[in-house]
């Protein structure tokens, strides 16, 4: 009896699902009426799909959000934001993008390289929607790939570190040892050695492979920085998302040591105000500029497409001067910048 009941229950459930899935089911796009999402009407409708962390991470995602906010204000548009989870599969990322596209958001900006396959697929499904992807390249007519030459900015950070160190010993802390962060390391190390070959560079990554905690663990950043300071370094460059906050805190505790920030101008971040006297400079990656440019181009009716590289020459990456700690070495930094821009220095992208 029991077995029969169970079996029939299972059959009914499967059959019901199968029937609705094939015969009489309508897709969610048929159910969605375009008016249901509100917002709409005039102005540009911006769809943002963030990487893990989302708005409020004080770093990468926030920078994209700044660009979108600026565009929203200027073009009196509206923003819809969705955020990734760590358990995401391709299907989730695709759902996020196609939900936005179905509701009529245009442009849609995917923040972070994990979205690359999803953008490839969904941009083909919605050829009239403009997609942007940050930190990766997708070859499609309606996709604008926004990439940055992090290694060039990091090179300048390396030059500054080599000029400012008194112990001829500097450090680099990376969040996760993925190819993107290795670009930071490569540029930095090259910048240091081109300036002063005698300077020793310590390199440490906070987490590895699939473990992305290195981007969001200030405690790990602090420990790593403390270890480097104890080991004799006096300038530490951290490219590790919010873990960098911990590193900056540790550096602040050591006399005469400097921290170099990343992504945003960290001297001006309110949460780090008490440590700002130790922030030498920051390697600013202007994701906001890339995102804003893209939204503006769509608003103007001439959407950007292809791979737009935000290089040092275009101001896509730069060294922040807030605090005035690098004013004395500015001529040397400018000289290095000029050499990178005119091509006489080629910065490596892998260490």
């Amino acid at each position: 009896m029991r077995r029969v009941a169970k079996l029939s229950a299972a059959c009914i459930a499967t059959a019901a699902l199968a029937v609705t899935a094939t015969a009489c089911g309508s897709t969610s796009s048929d159910n969605t009426t375009s008016s249901s999402s509100g917002g709409g009407g005039k102005g540009v409708k911006i769809g943002l799909a963030y990487d893990v962390g989302g708005r409020g991470d004080r770093s990468f995602n926030d920078s994209a959000a700044r660009g979108a906010d600026k565009a929203e204000k200027e073009f009196s548009g509206s923003i819809k934001e969705l955020t990734a989870k760590t358990s995401d599969t391709e299907a989730d990322r695709e759902q996020r993008l196609s939900d936005l596209a179905q509701a009529g958001y245009n442009p849609i900006v995917a923040v972070g390289f994990s979205y690359a396959p999803a953008v490839t697929k969904i941009s083909a499904k919605f050829p009239k929607t403009n997609f942007g992807i940050v930190d990766s390249v997708v070859a499609a007519k309606n996709v604008n790939s926004i990439t940055f030459t992090e290694e060039q900015g990091s090179y300048l950070a390396g030059v500054a570190a080599a000029l400012k160190t008194k112990k001829d010993h500097v450090g680099f802390i990376g969040g996760v040892d993925n190819p993107l962060i290795k670009k930071f390391e490569a540029g930095y190390v090259q910048g240091v050695h081109d300036t002063n070959p005698k300077v020793k560079v310590d390199v440490q990554y906070l987490s590895h492979g699939q473990d992305f905690s290195g981007f969001s663990s200030p405690d790990k950043g602090q420990q790593a920085a403390q270890g480097m300071l104890d080991n004799g370094t006096d300038v530490i460059y951290t490219a590790a998302g919010s873990s960098g906050n911990g590193a900056i805190e540790a550096v602040h505790g050591a006399k005469g040591a400097w921290a170099i920030g990343v992504d945003s101008d960290q001297y001006n971040i309110p949460g780090l105000a008490q440590y700002k006297s130790s922030i030498l400079t920051s390697m600013v990656k202007n994701v906001d500029v890339g995102v804003y440019d893209f939204i503006k181009s769509v608003h103007d009716g001439k959407p950007l497409a292809g791979n737009n590289v935000y290089s040092l020459a275009k101001g896509g990456v730069s060294l922040a001067t807030s605090g005035g700690f690098i004013t004395d070495i500015q001529p040397k930094l400018d000289a290095a910048k000029k050499k990178i821009v005119d091509g006489s220095i080629k910065v490596k992208t892998t260490p």
């Binding site: 899935a21 309508s26 897709t27 969610s28 159910n31 358990s87 994990s114 690359a116 993925n178 492979g209």
Partner: protein
């Protein structure tokens, strides 16, 4: 006699269903309160979840997700039936998927040969990784909870070490993603094209087969009987001639082998390679689903479908302006409620049983001549 057994089974069935239903209802109430507390109306939210969740493309998504979750649930449940808490499913499936992806990318044999080889590789890797915890448990008495948690971290480290350009992986276009060599298209598992709703992963049939095998082996074989006996009482099992140590090691290995399959739907039907953004944490989802499904093959399936449904619909809730954290709240509350509801229902069932036995005894005492009939 026949009538009697059917009545008892109905009651059992009722009690079995009562707990998950109670849990889900309680979770819905709590979620409604949470949504109300955020100043929004829960009515449209639930309504949106239903209409969106039952759209055909959502159903395909849910079935695909549930395929993965079902395997995770079964893998954990095998341990649970044995009183083993295999927290290491997470590390087992990731390591298995990684090595299977490496093998799949390197193979040049035709698909009908490559797919089984990839599956065997995944199951063997998962089984070996779980075996470490099993052997430590039987030879050294190390708690499997501790050892499997640690093995999870070690698995992460091994993958991180090998998933590097120049080792077992390569850099992808754009230079930002490291992944293993993609599987040749011949090694892709079949999927069912449902038109605009998307592709239904063929791996769902493998998952169903695993479910049937789980039901059969545990419920219908000597081995399954021994396994359940050990789970209920080690000393009783030992007294009846079962080698407890052997059973512990074996069930850990089987649990690991099934765990090895968890990553396969994603690998063979979706990503076709292992990259640093391969989904993580499904092993822990499996624990929740096994709990929800009471280690029952059909219960686990329903739990997996519910989980997929919740993820699909809460993704869309975020789109509708509700907070995305709602998903975590619902899932957490369901798991808590399940644990509480099972205990409540178990006590209620125990009480009912005592009452019934009491009533029967009383009836016997009252009418001693009818004794034989009742018994």
């Amino acid at each position: 006699m026949n009538k009697l057994t059917s009545r008892i089974d109905k009651e059992r069935l009722f009690l079995g269903l009562a707990a998950p239903v109670l849990a889900v209802v309680a979770a819905l109430v709590v979620t409604a309160l949470v949504i109300l507390a955020t100043g929004k109306n829960p009515g449209p939210a639930f309504n949106d979840m239903l209409t969106y969740g039952f759209a055909s493309d959502s159903q395909v998504y849910i079935l695909n997700k549930a395929t993965t979750y079902y395997l995770a649930g079964v893998s954990v449940a095998i341990g649970f039936r044995m009183n083993l808490f295999n927290i290491g499913v997470d590390g087992q499936y990731r390591l298995a998927a990684f090595f299977a992806a490496v093998l799949g990318g390197a193979l040049t044999v035709p698909g009908w040969l490559a797919v089984p080889l990839i599956l065997i590789c995944a199951m063997a890797t998962g089984a070996l990784w779980a075996a470490i915890a099993g052997i430590l448990k039987v030879t050294r008495g190390v708690s499997e909870v501790i050892s499997t948690i640690m093995l999870n971290s070690i698995a992460t480290a091994i993958i991180a070490y090998l998933l590097q350009p120049g080792k077992l992986a390569q850099l992808q276009q754009g230079g930002t993603v490291v992944a293993t060599k993609p599987l040749p298209s011949g090694s892709h598992f079949f999927s069912i094209d449902t038109g605009p709703a998307g592709d239904l992963w063929g791996f769902i049939f493998i998952a169903a087969a695993v479910g049937i095998a789980y039901w059969f082996v545990l419920g219908r074989t000597r081995f399954g009987y021994d396994l359940r006996t050990v789970g209920q009482s080690e000393s009783a099992a030992a007294a009846s001639g079962v080698s407890v140590k052997k059973m512990i090691a074996t069930s850990m290995i089987i649990s690991g082998a099934v765990a090895g399959l968890i990553g396969m739907p994603t690998l063979l039907n979706d990503s076709y390679q292992f990259s640093s953004d391969f989904p993580t944490g499904i092993g822990f989802t499996g624990i929740a689903i096994a709990l929800l499904g009471r280690n029952n093959p059909i219960g686990i399936a329903l739990g997996a479908l519910l989980w997929g449904f919740l993820e699909r619909t809460t993704n869309h809730l975020e789109f509708q302006g509700y907070d995305k954290e709602i998903l975590g709240v619902i899932q957490g509350v369901i798991v808590l409620c399940v644990v509480i509801a099972y205990e409540v229902v178990r006590r209620y069932g125990l009480k009912r049983q005592q009452q019934k036995v009491g009533a029967e005894l009383a009836a016997q005492a009252a009418a001693p001549t009818k004794k034989q009939e009742v018994a």
